[in-house]
């Protein structure tokens, strides 16, 4: 090193570098700044070794700790699962018909079931469960295969008309295009459209066609048959719509709505939870043998008698 030069104006030592007559003053970085900088370098080195950091062609270096965001999420999910294990267990073991009486479990089931529904069922039945043409509305009081919580759970578990599950509920309405004449089908369509308005199912030419072709499944009174999944034709609910075109198409080709068996994808607890959720949407039917909801409502004041009676 050559001799030190002091800048006369500022009194600061110079580095000896000079550009176009401008001298560089030697103002070193503050000590605390330097040490902070070294500390960040050390931190970065350790970080790169411990955590995924360096991008490679397909992924990044793994890091010595084996840490990953996916692992974090999985751990969190496992934690929640573990905390819910008891609830799931009792949900699987409980008699679904008695779920009403266990308020905590019912609340757990409907909440969990709501999540299961939105993930797995809303694609067909809608997020509000109102269904669509060909996909049953789960809010109304019409159930093709029964609307008790057990019935719903069975349907969810095994599905409808799918060939993967031997226990699936199965029925098939044949297409009548080969069996009936076009005019006969047209007559039948008009006849069926008038059934909800109180038309006698067996009256007239339409009634005769109905008796010969339809009553074996839909019943002589057109009231349907739940054991076959045959819809009631006298009510106001039309799964496939009641326009002339739709009904014609339906009778000609026969409907074939399929629901997959969810036991393949959902755990038994999830199946039961979603059944509880659907049952609670407003259309659920009480268990056979139990009094219907309405009969239990007497004098509202009676309801106040109980363990929490005020006054």
């Amino acid at each position: 090193m050559s001799k030190r030069r002091i800048d006369p104006v500022t009194g600061t030592e110079t580095t000896g570098h000079q550009w176009d007559g401008i001298e560089e003053l030697n103002n070193p970085l503050p000590r605390w700044w330097l040490w902070t900088f070294y500390a960040t370098c050390v931190f970065a080195l350790i970080y790169v070794i411990l955590y995924p950091a360096i991008p490679l062609v397909r992924d990044a270096t793994g890091g010595a700790l084996g840490w990953s965001t996916r692992g974090d999420v999985a751990a969190e999910i496992a934690e929640v699962d573990a905390s819910q294990a008891d609830m799931r267990e009792s949900l699987v073991s409980i008699d679904l018909a008695a779920l009403d009486e266990n308020e905590a479990l019912l609340s757990f089931a409907t909440n969990a079931g709501g999540a299961v529904f939105r993930t797995n069922c809303s694609q067909c039945h809608g997020s509000g469960a109102a269904g669509a043409i060909g996909y049953p509305n789960l809010l109304d009081d019409e159930w093709l295969w029964g609307g008790t919580i057990e019935d719903i759970a069975y349907t969810v578990r095994h599905g409808i008309r799918n060939e993967n599950d031997p226990d699936a509920r199965w029925s098939q309405m044949p297409g009548f295009a080969e069996i009936l004449e076009k005019e006969e089908i047209a007559t039948l369509v008009v006849h069926v459209q008038s059934l909800p308005e109180g038309q006698d199912p067996l009256a007239g030419a339409g009634g005769q066609l109905f008796d010969e072709n339809c009553s074996s499944c839909h019943g002589m009174d057109a009231g349907g048959d739940r054991s076959l999944g045959a819809p009631n034709l006298t009510d106001a609910i039309w799964l496939y719509g009641n326009s002339t075109e739709r009904l014609t198409q339906l009778i000609e080709r026969g409907p074939f709505g399929v629901m997959p068996p969810w036991s393949e994808r959902l755990s038994e607890a999830e199946v039961r939870a979603v059944a509880a959720y659907v049952h609670g949407l407003g259309g659920g039917e009480a268990q056979v043998g139990e009094p219907a909801d309405d009969t239990a409502a007497g004098n509202p004041n009676d309801l106040m008698l109980g363990d929490e009676t005020p006054e």
């Binding site: 109304d140 019409e142 239990a296 106040m304």
Partner: protein, 510 residues
């Protein structure tokens, strides 16, 4: 340009003891505010079973605010917002009328600093003794005196932090838990923070908090005008100062030609930095031939000032208008047989008038003027509005939110059903049953999801959410119309009170 630094390290201030009417007022305000702060959580108020018995309680866990007979739920937070607006406007009103009276008498920083000063004076003696002790080397005596002072400060700080947490939960229970070390961690944490801030702010930072940390001195200028009463020195009466004439002459050359302080300088006057004075005064300092004024330059007003300022320099930001200098000066004026009020609550607009020999304007004339009346009008209007809202607050509270996914459901018999999410609030200390019914004349039938009948039981001091169905028969107008008005009634079966909420019913849209 001033070469004053932006910050100089704190020079401790040792205010001298003073007595007088303003000091007495300050004692009373101090006692009152401290009593309110420390005792309020211990007031009991019987609200019946299952309800807290504390008169003032901020129940953050259950989101309730209890204030004597009033309880406020989260959806009624506008009451709290209204009170905050009133507090703000009240500050405007008082500042416009009386300057920084809030700072001088009721600000917690002032009150606790005052309290700490009492302790300091009790242990270490008055101004001179404290200054001597401060400059003395660290002997055993100094350590003992300072240590005692700090210990008492810490105890006060602890009590301050301790009183705060009682506002948020049942005080006797928490007190027991604190004594038995079972209180929640948050309680300890809060107490620790408030103890620390009280100790440091009240004991060591004092006027620094007012000058450097508090935004209020910066804001107050907008609220004050020349009609606002502030503590001021009647320089037309006091100047030229009698005793200090010669001294001032000598000092005049050394003084920094500072900005106009009387003209509300934007600079912060620094305690300990040589006081600045008006340029005009500097010019005449040497050759003043007028007869001496009433001020004898005894510095009494300076020694008693907790902010360490000289009020004779004119209005300045650091002044908190605590009026202790008025008390000190009045005592001196009495001793030398001059009228009181050399330092007094005066408005800026009074100065030229009084300097010209006019009679002083009574204080109430400054308080009652349009600006203050407008502030008071708005303030009172909000207050009346809040009281009105309090009295018309419905006894039964129900909110009805129609479910829109889907808007309606057709049932097997052709009837149309709408769903509503209904929230019922029960503000009583006992469980209540509410009967829901549709409006008279509508054909719709009401039912509640997964419950028999149409009665909702709501536990004490809670709200209940139920899904309610309105069902209109197939042939009814409601079922056919795209949308029609619906009214849901609720009746408190215990009291018989009725209320209703209007909503919409969606029918088949064809």
């Amino acid at each position: 340009m001033s070469d004053q630094p932006l910050y100089v390290s704190r020079i401790p201030i040792f205010p001298r003891r003073v007595s007088g009417s303003y000091r007495t007022l300050k004692w009373w305000m101090m006692g009152l505010t401290l009593a309110i702060y420390y005792l309020t959580p211990w007031l009991r108020w019987d609200r019946g079973p299952n309800m807290p018995d504390q008169a003032v309680l901020i129940d953050l866990v259950n989101r309730r605010f209890y204030f004597f007979w009033i309880d406020i739920w989260p959806h009624e937070f506008y009451f709290v917002a209204g009170l905050l607006v009133m507090a703000g406007l009240g500050l405007f009103l008082f500042t416009a009328a009386l300057g920084r009276v809030w700072c001088g008498y009721t600000c917690p920083q002032t009150v606790w600093t005052d309290l700490f000063l009492v302790v300091e004076r009790w242990v270490q003696g008055d101004r001179n003794a404290r200054m001597k002790l401060h400059n003395a080397p660290w002997t055993a005596r100094k350590m003992r005196l300072k240590g005692t002072t700090w210990a008492i400060w810490l105890l006060i700080g602890l009590a301050t932090g301790g009183a705060w947490v009682f506002y948020f939960t049942d005080a006797p229970t928490l007190a027991r838990d604190l004594v038995t070390f079972q209180a929640p961690g948050m309680a300890w944490f809060t107490i620790a923070i408030l103890t620390f801030t009280t100790f440091v702010f009240g004991g060591f930072m004092r006027e620094q908090v007012c000058i450097y940390m508090c935004p209020w001195p910066r804001i107050q200028a907008a609220m004050m005008d020349e009609g606002t009463l502030t503590v001021a020195y009647r320089d037309w009466r006091g100047e030229p100062r009698g005793k200090g004439l010669r001294r001032r002459e000598a000092a005049a050359d050394l003084r920094v030609a500072g900005p106009l302080v009387g003209g509300r300088s934007p600079l912060i006057p620094m305690p300990g930095v040589p006081n600045t004075t008006t340029g005009a005064r500097l010019e005449t300092a040497g050759q003043d031939t007028r007869p001496p004024g009433d001020c004898i330059d005894c510095n009494a007003c300076v020694t008693v000032c907790p902010m360490g300022i000289d009020i004779r320099d004119g209005q300045q930001m650091a002044c908190i208008t605590c009026a202790l200098c008025i008390d000190a000066c009045d005592q001196v004026m009495e001793k030398i047989g001059r009228p009181r009020g050399l330092i007094d609550y005066v408005a800026l607009s009074d100065a030229p008038r009084e300097a010209a020999g006019g009679a002083p304007i009574p204080a109430w004339r400054h308080a009652v003027r349009p600006r203050n009346l407008i502030y008071f009008g708005i303030w009172a209007g909000i207050g009346i509005g809040l009281v009105f809202a309090l009295f018309v607050r419905p006894e039964i509270e129900m909110t009805v939110a129609p479910v829109r996914n889907p808007t309606f459901v057709t049932l097997a018999d052709g009837s149309v059903r709408n769903a509503y999410d209904v929230r019922l609030r029960n503000k009583n200390g006992e469980a209540r049953a509410f009967l829901l019914s549709p409006s008279m004349g509508t054909a719709a039938d009401v039912s509640i999801e997964s419950r028999p009948g149409s009665v909702v039981r709501v536990p004490a001091d809670a709200q209940e959410r139920v899904r309610v169905y309105l069902t209109a028969p197939a042939d009814s107008e409601m079922a056919r119309e795209a949308a029609s008005d619906a009214r849901l009634w609720v009746e408190d079966l215990a009291g018989g009170a009725r209320a209703h909420v209007d909503t919409t019913f969606n029918g088949r849209e064809n």
